[in-house]
Symmetry: C2
């Protein structure tokens, strides 16, 4: 490749390095790789274009394949909540209900008019569907035979955030799935919370090649109204921040008491039991996490399993001297390669655009994150090989034409695995186990997250956030922010050694309590 061609190609590429300006880099990548378009009519809204919808539908299929055998069924509830039912909830004496409703109140979008008439009772667009669904759970669940009730819906929700919005990571409307289930016993409910968490972790690790740490949220960070919250926590190496992946909540009997969801005790006639509920959700945010974890200065890097286009074939070495019949013959051979790959189940495209140099095309497809480039010139044709170039690590190779149907799928699988292994190695090395308080802030400043002995207290966690504020730094949108303190990400289920109950102190120097568990803290999204 001549340098001059590459230079020309750079004109359409990403203009800022990921390491030094992660926020601006992200904004460029999502738009130039055609994952989203900003919706200029209303701020905080984004159009999801086909490459990102391909990722989302891949996730949807994968998730359905796992939850259907568990007995989870699909439903679709209305998108509006009425003001009357919300007001009713607020008046409730239950703290959990109040907490839940008030938590979302500042972000509710209110429909007050239909056509030119004012609505008698305004309705809010759902920010989540507990309050829409649970009155019907109370109606439908009569007997223990109606349990478990397990419903999931794929929909859009609106949270009219005041904070700066970012495609995928914080949008005012987003797509997600929300599962809501009811069980007879706490044990059955808890079991499901973790089963779902495992499916979420598999979406990250198997589909998106993004390593996560599974664990429990602290009291300060759990879902408002939940008994406890389990989570998958991912990590963005470029800025050293943690990012919540997806959460699966044990709601306990909090909501069943609010909404009166009971069954007759199968063991004791006349006695009524409140059901045990869970809710769990995964949103298009996961796509943003994937972009952040894998992308590089050339643009997007897509894991093959979710890439709408897994490989692109680019004709090379054709020039003004090439005879027309030779060109035609060569392009026909390329079409044959394409058909071979399609038959092998590979999502492939031939870039036969005229008037563009191969160098331009290389950069263009690199920016769009296509996992594998195949180059094919007349010399390659004579030698019976295709030249390969991996997007993830730039590695080049050749594959005999006769072995494309087996070697390309195998290479794509290898890329998928290598992407995960690399990212897992980075996360592992940037998750620092610390027992000295003084090392915490320097570790954060070096773009790590930390695992420390922690008492679990809400006040202690608040204090830790204050104590770890640091120099102003740039946020994902390139603005200088007052240095962010760290918050807890999760208490990992896989606990490191070295914490002795009743002996190891909480690492916060101002805290007198004993540590309950190793807890992962970090600056975060």
């Amino acid at each position: 490749m001549a340098d001059s061609k590459n230079k020309a190609a750079k004109l359409v590429g990403i203009t800022v390095p990921k390491e030094t300006n992660c926020g601006q880099w992200y904004v460029e990548v999502v738009q130039k790789a055609e994952l989203v378009e900003y919706y200029s009519e209303i701020s905080g809204f984004y159009i999801l274009r086909p490459p990102s919808m391909h990722i989302w539908t891949s996730i949807r299929k994968f998730f359905q394949d796992h939850i259907e055998p568990m007995g989870v069924q699909e439903a679709s509830f209305p998108m509006f909540l009425s003001a009357t039912s919300l007001a009713k909830e607020k008046c409730g004496t239950h703290n959990h209900r109040k907490e839940h409703v008030e938590g979302f109140a500042p972000e509710l979008a209110w429909v007050t008019k239909a056509g030119d008439k004012d609505l008698e009772v305004p309705v809010a667009v759902r920010p989540t569907s507990e309050a829409v669904m649970y009155p019907y759970y109370a109606k439908w669940i009569r007997s223990h035979r109606d349990l478990p009730l397990r419903l999931n819906q794929w929909n859009n929700v609106v949270r009219w955030e005041a904070k700066q919005t970012t495609p995928f990571l914080r949008a005012r409307e987003f797509l997600w799935q929300e599962g809501h289930t009811a069980h007879l016993t706490e044990e059955l409910a808890s079991e499901e919370v973790l089963q779902i968490l495992d499916v979420y972790a598999a979406i990250f690790e198997k589909l998106l090649a993004v390593p996560v740490v599974k664990g429990k949220k602290t009291e300060a960070e759990k879902f408002a109204g939940a008994s406890w919250t389990s989570t998958c926590e991912a990590f963005v190496p470029a800025n050293g921040r943690g990012i919540q992946g997806a959460t699966s909540h044990a709601l306990g009997q909090n909501f069943s008491k609010m909404f009166g969801i009971t069954v007759e005790d199968p063991d004791k006639k006349g006695n009524h039991l409140h059901v045990w509920q869970n809710s769990w959700g995964l949103s298009t945010r996961v796509i943003g996490v994937m972009i952040m974890v894998h992308g590089d200065d050339k643009g997007l890097v897509l894991p093959p399993r979710v890439a709408s286009l897994q490989t692109v074939i680019i004709p090379v070495g054709l020039n003004a001297k090439t005879k027309p019949e030779e060109r035609t013959q060569h392009m026909e051979k390329i079409q044959e390669l394409k058909v071979t790959l399609q038959k092998a189940g590979v999502r492939v495209h031939v870039d036969d655009r005229e008037g563009y140099t191969p160098g331009f095309k290389f950069s263009d497809w690199e920016m769009r994150g296509v996992p594998l480039r195949l180059e094919f010139g007349m010399r390659d044709a004579a030698a019976g090989v295709v030249v390969t170039s991996r997007r993830d690590n730039g590695e080049k190779g050749t594959i005999p034409v006769g072995e494309l149907a087996t070697q390309v799928p195998a290479l794509l699988e290898k890329i998928q695995e290598d992407m995960f292994t690399k990212a897992a190695g980075v996360y592992e090395s940037r998750r620092i186990k610390l027992t000295e308080w003084d090392r915490v802030v320097p570790a954060l400043d070096s773009r790590n997250v930390v695992i420390i002995p922690f008492c679990g207290g809400i006040k202690c966690e608040d204090r830790i956030k204050e104590l770890t504020r640091s120099e102003p730094e740039e946020d994902e949108n390139g603005r200088k922010m007052p240095g962010m303190g760290m918050k807890s990400l999760c208490t990992p289920f896989e606990q490191p050694d070295g914490l002795v109950a009743g002996e190891t102190k909480c690492l916060n120097p101002e805290c007198q309590d004993m540590a309950k568990a190793w807890t992962m803290f970090g600056r975060s999204y």
Copy 2:
């Protein structure tokens, strides 16, 4: 089956006959078969429960399998339209735009507040997405290489209808897919309109076993802003009304001129061409049509291909005299039958509820529309057979246990075909070709639709509607309505013989024009 058992079972069944009170019958069926739950918080909204979502996801899979090979890609656009961009459209000088925007204005749901703050510019929930999407088509489409652009989205839309709402058939929020495509030439666009219409027809006929007539909408009935509209028209025998199934529109250059969607003429540099657009949509209304067409006085009748439960096994002949070990042994055998059927790909359930008679269970599953009932008693076990009972026609039979895996799927296919054949025969016999005006109203009163020579004029169609008003009749909600005039359903693509151009007059006795085509008219939804 003892009669006394059936009587007990009827308590939970449908209380009104379909023929005499179609509206009330429908309302009972959709709720008792657990297809929907009324959302009591806000009128005109419904909860879609798992059996209806199963139908919808079956349709979604089928449609995706057909449009993906055509090159249609999935996208997701925001759910809101800003008031500013709507106002801009209204000021436009284009009649089509005005028509399109004003058509939906009375039904728009307006968000005016977020949290407790008034929005500077109110936003409306999409009633359809032309105005959301097409500004971006103008941005994305630059060159003929960007064509065809074919995007589809599965989403929810809101049309705050003032009219009486009915689950599936007219709801204020509904699920649909909306496809929006742009092409270089009129010919390419037209070809796609009809390809999509064929997929819609296949959804009706192959999945839902509902016969449709394909044709073109008249000028009076086409989509506001379309150049022409193609449609699938179904028929409800119980009240003799036509019902629009799904429409595929050729938008021509109407919208591309409004939104400035152009490409450079590939044949003439510097010259700009407006693209040719289509839009096509199919909604959850199709589920309502299916219920209306197949249901009977016992309740829902589901075509096997879309039934979430295709067959239910009911143990029979067990009673107080049955020894516990015999019962256990028998139930184990039933579990084996279930596993056999599951392995054969059949969606099967065993109704092993205790404390309910077989008769009660029979009625319950009949009401829910399960296509095939399998009865299995100890005598059947001894004889090595299973007793079958078809939901669609009540036909009984037996299948040797060893042949379940082949014969049950075959029988389900047979039921699917027979349901379609029966409905097609009814529709055929109730689609009356008429050349005498005086026979029109009597034909409508006898619950038929008519095919008549028609000039195609908008005013003539208005007049036909007035001339065919009749005695007050009941609508789908059981209210007496002033007798509905007939409107055009479509001009069928398959034209009957007998219409001579320049000779056959329009059938409206007051109209002096020549007939352009045989056109299907009827009372309708």
